[in-house]
């Protein structure tokens, strides 16, 4: 594993499985009376959020606190601080304060990569979502949820998602979740299909390791998991589709469509859901929908990532080094 986590595409299969396995152990901590581990005691992690996202921020914060890290939250909202000088200046300020890691959310694609490679700061950088580029911890928690549901928490240990058929539906063009999931699920051996109106599929998708379909109904019976992506109503005004009604009729998931999925198949959503747009309330509230589990799993995955990146004197490496210690 690398020093930073910027893109799901940077993870090898071994890295990804190690994160999922570690998250499985982290998940057990949630059942204890004291939900706390000492792994990051004395380390300071800054959640640097240039874009509003309470859900992702509190998920990281919970993970950091469960690992005993000291947490600094830096919310920089609004356009005046989204200028480049601000990112650089902020990074250098955090560096001077002795921050050990930065979790960054930014509306500009590539901002975490830039932060990690520009020399502005020395600390490891974890991407908590950048523009329409990547959201690697979301993809990891999605894969974790799929492995737990489709293979089982213990049976899944050490496993990928080989042969699992995963369908992602919705605004792929503007979705960092879709990009990260395509990369990671492919690495883990799953077969990914993207379903969307052609206007919401990016030019250049042909090189992605996945299939593309414009027809939801024919894809559903061949899916082990169906992930609905959020579709913002603003897209309608930019002529990506004619009306909300037409979108939900062609690409929304309702009870009838869910009935066409195999019995074991699950419905996923990265949240927040737009009920009545991409998903009906009936589906969102059914026990096949894992949206609440995904939230819980997000904390476990982020604990695993933080531990593996920051827990030792260097990041966990893909190849286990021989340890010279006498005792375990």
């Amino acid at each position: 594993m690398m020093r930073h986590l910027i893109s799901a595409a940077d993870l090898t299969r071994d890295d990804a499985v190690l994160i999922l396995d570690t998250a499985e152990e982290m998940a057990r901590v949630a059942d204890r009376p004291i939900k706390k581990l000492p792994a990051l005691r004395g380390r300071t992690v800054c959640n640097l959020f240039f874009e509003d996202s309470t859900r992702t921020r509190i998920s990281f914060e919970a993970a950091e606190k469960r690992l005993s890290a000291d947490v600094i939250n830096f919310a920089a909202k609004g356009s005046s601080v989204s200028k480049g000088e601000s990112l650089k200046d902020t990074a250098q300020t955090l560096e001077a304060m002795g921050v050990d890691a930065v979790v960054i959310r930014h509306s500009a694609s590539g901002a975490p990569y830039r932060l990690a490679t520009s020399g502005w700061i020395d600390a490891p950088v974890i991407n908590a979502g950048d523009g329409t580029h990547q959201h690697p911890t979301q993809a990891l928690l999605d894969a974790f949820t799929m492995r737990r549901r489709l293979t089982g928490p213990d049976a899944g240990l050490g496993q990928g998602l080989d042969g699992k058929r995963i369908t992602l539906v919705g605004d792929v063009l503007h979705s960092r979740v879709a990009r990260s999931n395509v990369d990671l699920l492919h690495t883990l051996g799953a077969e990914v299909t993207l379903v969307a109106p052609p206007t919401l599929i990016p030019v250049g998708v042909e090189t992605w390791p996945c299939e593309v379909s414009y027809d939801l109904d024919s894809t559903l019976p061949k899916s082990d998991a169906v992930m609905m992506l959020r579709v913002q109503r603003e897209r309608m005004n930019a002529a990506f589709f004619p009306t909300e009604r037409e979108y939900s009729r062609r690409y929304g998931l309702d009870g009838d469509r869910m009935a066409r999925m195999p019995g074991h198949a699950i419905v996923m959503h990265p949240g927040p859901m737009v009920r009545g747009m991409e998903i009906t309330a009936e589906v969102a509230d059914s026990d096949r929908c894992t949206v609440i589990e995904q939230v819980a799993n997000g904390v476990s995955i982020r604990m695993a990532v933080l531990y593996l990146l920051l827990g030792g004197n260097e990041p966990a490496v893909t190849h286990t080094r021989p340890t010279a210690s006498e005792e375990k």
Binding site: L87, H106, A108, A111, R114, S118, R179, V203, W208
Partner: protein, 428 residues
């Protein structure tokens, strides 16, 4: 003025000859010219070209003197072998009146490093709505002949048609920055495989090509000439090739960076590669080289676009678009066109001096290297190999995409009407 004998230079890449400069003119070209009374420049193995002419330079003055001034920009030009540059109109205030173009013209005269020919804006404030006083700018001391809203596209078809027609009265030309604005809203890089992966807003080739197609048809309809700035796609080349085959009076330019760099570089998210039009694909680069070689593309123009460090030392979306280019242009052209066998040195002279001077009507520039002509000359050492070090730039800005890259060739001398502006690579 004294005499200078350039001894043994390969004039336009031909056999070694001596060239004698007397005062502001070339006094003679031939074998074994007498060095009596002349300073001798030994030019063994070097190439002598007519002084280069850049039809597309941003000197930033007035308004953005933190990135470049007429003085620093013309020093950069002389370093790169240029004796004439056309200064784009997107300054603050915009060069849309006789007053602003005369100011830029006067600053150029005062600098003494390179002739500066201001370009006038096509529309007031580059806003694309109302024609600027094109005639007044032409009649001013600056004698503007090239008009451009560069940085912005004259996207209104009627305004473009009127501008094309209007400048015919005084032999002007409109240089179009071809970028359909609606198709490029939020655009950050070439739309394709790389933009899809990086999640950066796509800048489709069709946004450039549709405007070029429209404008060559407009030029044909009204019988005007039109110049297309910085072609960047294979499709644009096809359209210009088709237009020329129909006899449409169109000329086109390509930048050095579009002859060398591709959108793969954007994977670094380093804004030094952020430029308008964006870096395209390998296929486009090859098509542009071929078009420059066969004459479909007439000239190389730098689109030298200086930006201060802080405008590039940030995340991609917040960064300014543009690259400096005056001081590396000839090396990139040697690397991509000469060393690849696509172009002779005489071909380089045509595309970097003669043709741009013709298009811009730059009097005294782009002339043959022969007796009686103004002594605007560039001497370069094609065997030189070195990596680009922006710290050595004469430009006030350092936003080069070539930092650390090894490029061939180096301009050693530049003469502006017989006066050396660059000697052994050092500005005078």
């Amino acid at each position: 003025m004294s005499k200078i004998l350039i001894r043994g230079a390969q004039v336009l890449g031909g056999e070694p000859q001596d060239v004698l400069i007397d005062g502001s003119e070339i006094a003679g070209v031939g074998q074994g010219l007498s060095a009596e009374g002349a300073d001798v420049v030994e030019a063994d193995g070097k190439i002598l070209l007519p002084g280069l002419v850049d039809l597309h330079t941003h000197l930033r003055e007035p308004g953005r003197e933190d990135s470049e001034t007429v003085l620093t920009g013309t020093r950069a030009a002389a370093s790169g072998g240029y004796t004439s540059v056309f200064a784009m109109a997107n300054t603050f205030p915009v060069a849309d009146t006789a007053g602003v173009v005369e100011q830029v013209y006067r600053l150029g005269k005062e600098s003494g490093y390179c002739d500066v020919q201001p370009i006038g804006a096509v529309t007031v404030g580059l806003e694309g709505r109302k024609l600027a006083e094109l005639g007044a700018m032409h009649e001013s001391a600056a004698g503007v002949t090239v008009f451009s809203d560069d940085g912005k596209c004259v996207d209104d078809a009627v305004i473009m048609r009127r501008a094309l027609e209007y400048v015919k009265a005084f032999g002007g030309v409109v240089a179009q920055h071809a970028q359909e604005p609606r198709l490029t809203e939020g655009a950050q890089m070439n739309e394709g495989v790389v933009s899809a992966e990086l999640g950066l807003g796509g800048w489709p080739a069709v946004a450039e090509e549709s405007i070029i197609a429209r404008d060559v048809l407009l030029a044909e309809h009204v019988g005007s000439r039109v110049h297309i700035c910085h072609l960047s796609t294979a499709g644009s080349v096809e359209i210009v090739r088709w237009a020329k085959s129909r006899g449409i009076d169109v000329t086109a330019e390509v930048t050095p960076h579009h002859l060398l760099l591709t959108d793969e570089l954007v994977r670094s998210y380093n804004p030094v590669y952020k430029v308008n039009p964006p870096l395209r694909t390998e296929r486009d680069v090859m098509a542009l080289r071929e078009a420059l070689a066969d004459g479909t593309i007439d000239i190389v123009a730098t689109d030298h676009a200086p930006h201060p460090h802080e405008d590039k030392d940030c995340e991609w979306a917040a960064a300014a678009m543009g690259m400096v280019g005056l001081e590396t242009a000839l090396s990139v052209v040697q690397h991509t066109m000469v060393d690849t066998g696509l172009l002779t040195w005489e071909g380089v002279a045509e595309r970097m001096s003669w043709a741009p001077a013709r298009i811009g009507r730059a009097a005294g520039h782009g002339r043959p290297v022969s007796a009686g002509e103004p002594a605007n000359l560039t001497l370069l050492d094609p065997a030189y190999r070195g990596s680009v070090d922006p710290a050595g730039f004469a430009s006030r800005s350092r936003n080069t995409p070539y930092e650390g890259r090894e490029l061939p060739g180096r301009v050693t001398h530049t003469w502006l009407r017989g006066r050396a502006t660059l000697v052994d690579g050092k500005l005078q």
